[in-house]
Amino acid sequence: MSSDNPYIPMPVEIIKIIDEVDTHDIKTFRFTFLNKADEKKFKYLPGQFAELSIYGKGESPIGIASSPTEQGYVEFTVQRAGAIVPGLVTAALHDMDEGAKIGLRGPLGNSWPIEFLEKKNIVVVGGGFAFTTLRSLINYMLYKDNRSRFGDITVIYGARTPGLLLYKDELAAWEKRDDIKTIITVDKGDENWKGREGFVPAVCKDAAPSPKNTVAVICGPPVMIKFTLPVFFELGFSRENILTSLEMRMKCGIGKCGRCNVGYKYVCSDGPVFSLAELEELPRDF
Amino acid sequence: MSFEPKILGIACNWCTYTGADLAGTTRLQYPQNTRVVRVMCSSRINPSFIFRAFQLGADGVLVGGCHPGDCHYNTGNLYARRRLAVTKKILEFSGMEPGRFRVEWISASEGNKFAEVVREFTEQIRNLGPQTKFKIEK
C-alpha cells in the first residue's frame, strides 16, 4: 500500500463487534491493522475521526471511539444510516462479521484540544449516539498516567431510553469510580430503570457545574445542543470554554474535495472540534 | 461454436410466469436461452431495466404480460403497453436492432404460446447475432 497517498486506505480487520443498543442499529467495531507499519503511523488523539472504507460501497467518516491509550486496536461506533438516503457503507459494515477486512483512512481532523484542557475541570455533556468521541476523551483522561493532568471530571450523558445508552458496561464502571462524577439520564425510563429521568439541558441545570477553570465539551443532536448552550451561558461559561464537534457530509476527509465547509473552515481539516467562540465567527447557515 | 444468445425474459406473475410454469409442467421443449425474471405486473417494468439489460450483455429482452383486459390489477398492462411501445421506439432510434426487444401477451393457460414465443424469439436473436451496441465491454 502506498503510504504517501492520502486517498488510499490501510487494510484493517474487524476483531470484535459489540451490539450496543436494543434497537440493534448501533454497533461498535474493533479493528486491528493488518500492516504493522500502518499501526505505528496511526497516531491519534481523542476527537479525531477516520474514513471507514469498503470497496464497492464507498467511505464513511466516523469518529474514533477508542482512546489512544488503548493499545493494539481502534474502535468505531457506527449507526446504520439511511432512513431516507441508503447508507451503503454503514449497512455493509453492519452486515459484516468478525474477521472481515475493510479499509481505513486516517486519523483525520483536529482533536479535542488536550493541552488546552490540561489542569482544568472538564464537564463532558453527551446526547445519544454522539457520545463516541466523548468516550474516547473520557477514557483518555481516566488513563492512569493521564488522570493527574486534569482536574475534576463530570460526565453528563443522556439517551432517549435506557436501551439506547452506549457503552453500558463502561458507564457502570465509571459510576463506581470516585475520580469521575457520572450522571446518566434518559428521557423516559422503563420498568427496570432505576436511574435519573429527564432531558440533558435540565440535568445540566441541576448539576450546575461551576464555570471556574472549567471547560464544557458538548456533543449531541442539534436540538440538545440548542437547549444546553443557554444553560451553560447562564452558569457563566465563556464561549471559549465550550467545545463541540461538528458533522457534515464528507468525502476526502483532508480538506480537498470542497464540500464540508462552514464558511471558510472545512469541518474535516479545520475541525471537527470547534469552540463556540470559533463557531460564532462562522455563518449560522451553511 | 454457434452463437448462444442470452435473453432476459421479464414475466408478469399472474399470466406469463404461470404460463411459463405450465410450459414446464407439460414438459414442452423450448430453448433455454431465456432467463426469466418475475415481476408482479408488466407495468412494474421500468424502461431502464431494459436499457440496463442490454448494457449488461443481454442479446434480447422479452417482456410477457397478461392479455389486455385480463390484468390482475385491471389496467396495469394497458399502461405498460403504451410505455413499452415508447421504449421500443427509443431503442430503435438510438440504433438498436428493433428485433431485440419484444412484448407478448401470454396468459396463464398458454403454456404452448410461451414455448412458441421463446422458440421464435431465440431463433430471431440467433439470426441477429450478438448484441454489441449497448453492451459494456469488460
Partner: protein
C-alpha cells in the same frame, strides 16, 4: 407582421406593473437585463420597482416555466410565455405541479428568436416552431398568422432514413461528448424530479463518471421520462455546453407519441399525459 420586441417589452412591463400593483400576483417571471444586450437573464419581479429592469428581445429564449415549480404551491404568479413555454405551463398543469388558477400567463407571440450563444435564429429545426402561445390570459403582441407552417418533425427525416448502425454511431459519438453537467435536465421545464434517477445510489442506474455507458443510460432514460411530455422548447440543446443535439431525440419520441396516441404534449389542459393514460382500444400494433 409581428409586433416589435420593443412593443412587447412595453406591454410586458405595463402588465407586470398592473398585476403587482393590484396585488393579483406576488411575482412575475420574465426577463431582465444581463451583462449585455444580447444576454438577457431570467428575472423575477416581486415589487413594482423591479418592473423597470425587465427586458424583452430576440435573445430571451429561456423557458420561464422551468421556474414555476420552485415556488411553494399556491403562490400566485404571472409568467411571460412564448409558444413553447405556454405548452410547458399547460403540461405542468396537466401533471398537477401547478394550478391553473395560480398562474397568469402573459402570452408572447414570437418570430425570429435568436440563440444568444451563436446568434442563430431559432426555428422549427430545434423547437416546436409555433408562433403563438397555446394558452394565455393576456396577449402582449398581435397573433402571428400567415407564416408557412412547417412541421417540427421535418428535421428528423435525415436521421430516420439513416442506417441503424450509422444512427447508433451518430448517437454514441454525441453521447460520448457528454460531461454530465446536467444542464439539460436543469434547463428543462419538465425535469423536476428530486432526486433525479441518475443521482440515486440504490438502485444505481449509472455511474457518476462521464463514461459511455453511464451517459447512454442517462440520456435514453431521460428521453423516456420526457416521452409525451417534452414540449419541444429546445432549451436542453441550447443549454448543452458540448452541443449534443438532444432536441432531435426528443422530437423523435414526441413524434412517435403523437402518432401512437394521437396527442401532442402541452396543447390542452384537459389532456392527460399520454404515459399515465391509456385507451382500452390502444392497438397492439404500437408494440411492433
Amino acid at each position: 407582421m409581428a409586433t416589435s420586441f420593443k412593443q412587447i417589452e412595453e406591454n410586458l412591463k405595463n402588465e407586470a406593473r398592473k398585476l403587482l400593483e393590484e396585488g393579483k400576483v406576488s411575482l412575475v417571471l420574465a426577463y431582465g437585463r444581463g451583462y449585455d444586450e444580447d444576454h438577457p437573464v431570467p428575472f423575477v419581479a416581486r415589487v413594482v420597482a423591479d418592473v423597470e429592469n425587465m427586458v424583452f428581445n430576440e435573445y430571451c429564449t429561456a423557458n420561464m416555466a422551468r421556474y414555476l415549480v420552485r415556488y411553494p404551491r399556491g403562490t400566485k404568479m404571472a409568467i411571460a410565455v412564448k409558444p413553447a413555454d405556454s405548452r410547458a405551463v399547460v403540461q405542468l398543469i396537466q401533471e398537477d405541479k401547478i394550478k391553473r388558477e395560480d398562474v397568469i400567463l402573459l402570452g408572447i407571440p414570437v418570430i425570429g428568436m435568436k440563440n444568444s450563444k451563436t446568434g442563430e435564429v431559432i426555428d422549427s429545426k430545434t423547437t416546436c416552431g409555433m408562433y403563438n402561445p397555446v394558452l394565455y390570459d393576456v396577449l402582449l403582441g398581435e397573433e402571428i398568422h400567415g407564416q408557412t407552417v412547417v412541421s417540427p418533425y421535418d428535421v428528423l427525416a435525415e436521421y430516420e432514413t439513416m442506417d441503424k448502425d450509422a444512427r447508433f454511431a451518430f448517437w454514441k459519438k454525441e453521447f460520448d461528448k457528454c460531461i454530465r453537467c446536467y444542464a439539460c435536465r436543469k434547463a428543462c421545464p419538465m425535469c423536476y424530479c428530486d432526486p433525479c434517477f441518475i443521482d440515486q445510489n440504490k438502485p444505481k442506474w449509472g455511474d457518476k463518471s462521464p463514461q459511455s455507458h453511464g451517459n447512454l443510460m442517462y440520456h435514453l432514460t431521460r428521453f423516456h421520462h420526457l416521452a409525451g411530455r417534452c414540449i419541444d422548447c429546445g432549451e436542453c440543446s441550447r443549454a448543452c455546453p458540448v452541443d449534443i443535439p438532444l432536441y432531435l431525440f426528443h422530437k423523435k419520441v414526441a413524434k412517435e407519441c403523437e402518432e401512437m396516441f394521437g396527442q401532442a404534449a402541452g396543447k390542452s389542459i384537459q389532456d392527460k399525459p399520454v404515459l399515465v393514460n391509456f385507451r382500452v382500444d390502444d392497438s397492439d400494433k404500437i408494440l411492433e
